[in-house]
Subunit: 210 residues, 2 copies
Amino acid sequence: VREVPTTSPRLRTDAAANRAKILEVARETFAAEGLGVPMIEIARRAGLGVATLYRRFPAKEDLVAEAFAGQMGECAGLLDTALADPDPWRAFCRVIAEVCAMQARDRGFSAAFVTAFPHTVEFGALRERAERGFAELVRRAQAAGALRRDFDPADLALILLANGGIRAGTPEATEDASRRLVAYLLQAFRADRAAPLPRPAAIPLDAALQ
Amino acid sequence: VREVPTTSPRLRTDAAANRAKILEVARETFAAEGLGVPMIEIARRAGLGVATLYRRFPAKEDLVAEAFAGQMGECAGLLDTALADPDPWRAFCRVIAEVCAMQARDRGFSAAFVTAFPHTVEFGALRERAERGFAELVRRAQAAGALRRDFDPADLALILLANGGIRAGTPEATEDASRRLVAYLLQAFRADRAAPLPRPAAIPLDAALQ
């Protein structure tokens, strides 16, 4: 038998189809069940051998990074939009509301975002950029007198943990419940409503959503 | 061999010791890991055969009910105290703060409280009594003008879900973080700080903490 050259159009088409199928299955699975699902199970659900999966994605972190690349971009865009908003309180509220809505819709994304995979440089860089951007939003909203002065950027981990705890019977009910929680919290964050609080919880963002 | 009569003092002492050991292990295990831990694992950790465990507690719900009987009483007492408090806003805040602190300390208890075991009559009755008592506290705090009018008794499930999501690195960090979340939420619940909210989430309390 003649060996098929790796550049044959047929093989390229199959590879592209497999890759697309793997990413689709990975996104759905991680979103519904989190990142704990093993590679062999992703391969099974995609109807492919595990060797094919590992040929396309040599490590799980490669698969995770690729599966959430779109949402990563969305998240980065969301922060850029917020940082360009002339109203710092509106910008702060939008970032919290939109990140919590993403989290309520998709369990995989927030887990991917905070999981410390050792080699995914993009994830670490994105997270650092997000933390810096969020801290800047907090600073501006406090300087404008809208956000209470005892709000701590570390409260973002607290918000994400609390929001991550919301699981109602259906995805729609979960999103509704998350919206109500976020509305309550945003009202509590207003400077004109501030009363003393216990000290901020020392939860690193990494630890918040494993 | 002569069969030991079931009323022998020796057997009664062994039985009592086994029972105490089982309850101690069950409380610790359920608190740290929730109610999902199987009976066989409880027996293993107690250093007893599974037959001995089932002789003392024929069904898991019997074990759960007995293990949390003390906290059940504590919880009922907490509501009675709150209902006797002449300041309805203080009473409302204390109930939320104390129930959330119990939940942060002990994952098993809140799960036990909301789990619908088919035959644990005491649990169902206690839960109904708690729901009625809490609804009465809400009514009084709203009538006093302290609690916002759009606070819904169903928001208790939302609070417990959010608080249940808080898991920091250590038990102390988890309790700190829970206290800060509860302080934010209680400030958001004040009538004089109310701004419009999305509609209440339809989460039955049962569904909130499985």
